[in-house]
């Protein structure tokens, strides 16, 4: 395991809110993810030295920024942190070049404009040096803010909702650019966002925030497949979060009862979860991993087709590249999610081949590895 | 500006039907104590009569009357202002009387260590500031200028002169120690004890006699009562009161 480049622990109280978090991050980009008001921006401000927490310790690349035990508290000016604010905070009365060069004052004049120009070029802003922020598009402004932060060769880069002010197409193209820039530059970076797709695309590690606490800190794929709890799953916008009852639990498998079905799921690899029989259990099934069984290939084989169910498509939505189906099982009783039990996602091609417009009744199969239990 | 404002205020004070019997007297500041004492005398034998005093420099008061202030009696500290009003027909014929005289004196702060006993002493460099009333608007100032010119000191004292808006303000500057000496009336010097003390009196031959005229204003609503007040000013009882305060009798 690589040594942590970032070691953060903060405990501070504001009127009506307590922040109590601790997490570490290695190389790459750490993303603080969670709903608004969870304390993510507050954390960034503490990292930058703009707010002084009551207790805690912040170490970046071996340098102690803050330690309440020893009374160390470096001023923002001393930390060399590049901060991209949510509204970009570009100086309106300065040109792009002056904005980018703003932090370079302590360097000799010749080096100053050279460095600024280099960064401007690298971020694709060449030719805009003499413009003022009000003359730029949203995407350009974001890049100038980034350039300004990178120009000082920061020890740590902080980005607060870098893409939320942009319209959708710009946001998506800039997202990939941003990831490339962050990877290229190699600076330790912390990004704040409330959008899971953004978090997933930018992060190497995701730290999930909720109401001032960290509820999971993990590499991004681990978060996707193994949310630590139902809370995390819900924050991520996970679909098909369901509740059943435990029948039997072993370290490898959990057998559970849900909507009249007996399902078999793999146990959570992140912890040995052994709930007692008859206890409630939450789990989720990713919509794209529910298989509709083709009818032209004979009866389903229980060995091959695990967790067999049958149901009816009660509604479907066209998302262009994919279709999302809402399926209600044949079981009597209230469906698990309002009018339906399961959301199923199928690629467009599959939708056409299976003639889903015409044929509504289907048998479903879910591999046991695709049912993810959520430890309580 | 004070004039229109004061007119408005005075008009507001006089209701459509004046309460019982009320007289409004515009009185030059240096005659304040004299008029108040005589006023007390006046109402003692006239139950139901109230007097209201409007104080200011003679110039100010004249302007107010010209602007239509509802005044009954005007008491000025110099003839000039009364002459003006008479010329404009604002005075009730036959009611104008000179009822007192005053003399100039030079006062200094009570704790002043300066030795001032004659006019030339004012040239001493240790005398840094001398206050006189503003000659353009204050009669006491006019008399002071006249006296200083006669004495040949006016031009040489220019750099030391501070002007006051009325003679009581001049007295106030002296008693506060803001100036080293000041020209006021003898009656003011008396009123200003013990904070000021008299240094010397410039010779009465260096300025015109200071005469206080009084008259009933033409548009007075109570001309009868107003006349009675002016009569008191020249009556023996009136003269006794004024003499006690330091005024000289009229010629």
């Amino acid at each position: 395991m690589t040594a942590a480049r970032l070691d953060v622990s903060i405990r501070t109280t504001l009127p009506g809110f307590t922040l109590d978090v601790a997490w570490t991050a290695g190389d790459g980009v750490a993303v603080l993810f969670g709903p608004s008001g969870a304390g993510k921006t507050l954390t960034l401000q503490c990292l930058a030295g703009l707010i002084r927490p009551e207790r805690g310790r912040i170490v970046v690349d071996g340098r102690v920024f803050f330690d309440s035990a020893t009374g160390t508290d470096l001023r923002p000016q001393e930390r060399r942190v590049g901060y991209v604010f949510q509204g970009y905070a570009l100086f309106p009365h300065l040109t792009v070049l002056d904005n980018v060069a703003f932090g370079l004052r302590d360097r000799p004049r010749a080096e100053r404009s050279g460095r600024a120009t280099t960064v401007i070029e690298r971020l694709g802003l060449g030719g805009l040096e003499g413009r003022y922020p009000r003359e730029l598009s949203g995407g350009q402004r974001q890049r100038v803010a980034l350039a300004r932060a990178l120009a000082i060769d920061p020890a740590l880069l902080l980005l607060d909702e870098p893409l939320s002010a942009l319209d959708r197409p710009t946001r998506e193209s800039l997202r990939d650019e941003l990831r490339a820039v962050l990877t290229d530059w190699g600076t330790a970076a912390v990004v704040v966002t409330h959008d899971f797709t953004e978090a997933y695309r930018l992060a190497d590690r995701i730290v999930v925030y909720r109401e001032g606490r960290v509820i999971q800190s993990a590499p991004r794929s681990e978060l996707l497949w193994q949310p630590a709890s139902e809370s995390v799953a819900r924050i991520m916008g996970t679909r098909n979060v369901l509740h059943g009852t435990v029948l039997k639990a072993t370290p490898d498998r959990i057998q559970l009862r849900w909507r009249g079905q007996t399902l078999e799921a793999v146990n959570s690899p992140s912890r040995a979860y052994l709930p007692a029989p008859s206890s409630p259990i939450a789990f989720f099934i990713r919509p794209e991993y529910v298989r509709l069984i083709r009818k032209d290939r004979g009866a389903p084989d229980p060995n091959h087709h695990m967790n067999l169910m049958s149901g009816t498509v009660v509604s479907q939505t066209d998302f262009g590249a994919t279709w999302t189906l809402a399926i209600r099982l044949d079981e009597p009783g209230e469906p698990a999610q309002g009018a339906y039990d399961l959301e199923v996602e199928v690629p467009r091609l599959v939708h056409e081949i299976l003639e889903l417009d015409r044929d509504r009744r289907w048998q479903l199969s879910i591999h046991r590895g695709s049912i993810h239990v959520l430890p309580a | 500006m004070r004039v229109p404002l004061l007119v408005a205020v005075l008009l507001a004070l006089v209701p459509a039907t004046a309460p019982a019997e009320e007289l409004i007297l515009s009185v030059a500041v240096s005659m304040k104590e004299g008029t108040e004492e005589l006023g007390r005398l006046f109402v003692r034998s006239r139950p139901g009569v109230t007097l209201r005093y409007n104080l200011g420099s003679s110039g100010e008061l004249q302007k107010q009357i010209e602007a239509g202030a509802p005044v009954d009696v005007f008491i000025s500290a110099a003839q000039r202002q009364m002459d003006e009003l008479e010329r404009k027909g604002l005075i009730l014929d036959g009611t104008r009387r000179v009822f007192a005289r005053n003399v100039l004196t030079v006062v200094k702060p009570a704790d002043s260590g300066l030795d001032l006993s004659k006019p030339a002493d004012l040239l001493d460099p240790r005398v840094r500031r001398i206050v006189i009333g503003n000659p353009r608007t204050v009669p006491a100032g006019q008399y002071s200028e006249e006296s200083l010119r006669t004495l040949g000191l006016w031009d040489r004292l220019q750099g030391k002169l501070v002007l006051a808006e009325n003679v009581r303000q001049a007295l106030d500057y002296v008693s506060r120690g803001e100036v080293d000496a000041g020209f006021v009336y003898a009656t003011d010097a008396a009123a200003g004890k013990p904070r000021v003390k008299e240094a010397f009196r410039p010779g009465e031959d260096t300025y015109r006699p200071i005469a206080y005229p009084a008259a009933v204003v033409k548009d007075s609503r109570r001309p009868g009562l107003a006349r009675a007040f002016v009569d008191l000013l020249v009556a023996p009882e009136g003269r006794t009161v004024l003499a006690r305060l330091g005024f000289q009798p009229p010629p």
Binding site: V81, G87, R105 | R136
Partner: protein
């Protein structure tokens, strides 16, 4: 236009300019501190700075005399040491004008400074600027129009100062008679022609000043 009127105009302009410069030196830092810093006594400072705006000018004039008169708390010792007193000098007119106009500048400048996005200042901090340099390079330049408007208002107020000036500086032609005082005297003596000239001068000057302030306020940063 008589020589006396000209001297009143020249004096008024001189007093107003000096008072405004003094106000800039005192008022802008005050406005910054009130806008951006939290400290004990902040409310009291705010109150003191606003007081000349709401107190009658004669009351302020009275306090100035108590403080600066020949026997005043400050004026007394100074007179004892140097034999000099500020009363009845044009410096007294400057002091009166400065104090009466200060609240106008501070309030306007403070509002302008408060409207500067704080994230800009935070960005400057992270980029290595001290608070002092940030104020000079970011906050004040961005509040510039509001501050200038405040200065213009302060200048207009200083130009028209009367009550406190009369009390502290007196009305001495050639030395402390500013245009408002000259108008006062002219009306007293019935010299309406003179008064009109002075009134016209002051009105024109005030209009010019107000138009300048409006233009500055309307200009986008």
């Amino acid at each position: 236009m008589t020589a006396e009127n000209l001297s009143a105009l020249a004096l008024s302009l001189r007093v107003a300019v000096v008072a405004t410069l003094l106000n800039a030196a005192i008022g802008i830092p005050l406005a910054y501190v009130l806008a951006r810093r939290r400290f004990r006594g902040r409310g009291l400072l705010d109150l003191l700075v606003t007081l000349p705006l709401v107190l009658p000018p004669t009351v302020t004039g009275y306090y100035l005399i108590v403080l600066l008169g020949r026997r005043g708390w400050l004026g007394g010792p100074i007179y004892g040491l140097t034999g000099w007193s500020i009363t009845f000098t044009w410096y007294a007119a400057v002091v009166a004008a400065t104090i009466m106009a200060l609240p106008l500048l501070v309030r306007t400048a403070r509002a302008a400074i408060e409207s500067v996005d704080r994230d800009l200042e935070k960005a400057a901090f992270t980029l290595g600027r001290s608070e002092w340099r940030t104020a000079l390079e970011v906050t004040l330049p961005l509040a510039r129009n509001g501050i200038l408007a405040g200065l213009v208002l302060a200048f207009a107020r200083a130009l028209g100062e009367f009550g406190a000036t009369l009390m502290l500086a007196g009305n001495i032609p050639g030395r402390t008679t500013t245009v408002p005082l000259a108008i006062y005297t002219s009306v007293q003596t019935g010299e309406t022609g003179d008064a009109l000239v002075l009134v016209a001068m002051l009105t024109v000057l005030s209009c010019v000043v107000l138009i300048a302030a409006a233009r500055l306020g309307a200009r986008a940063t």
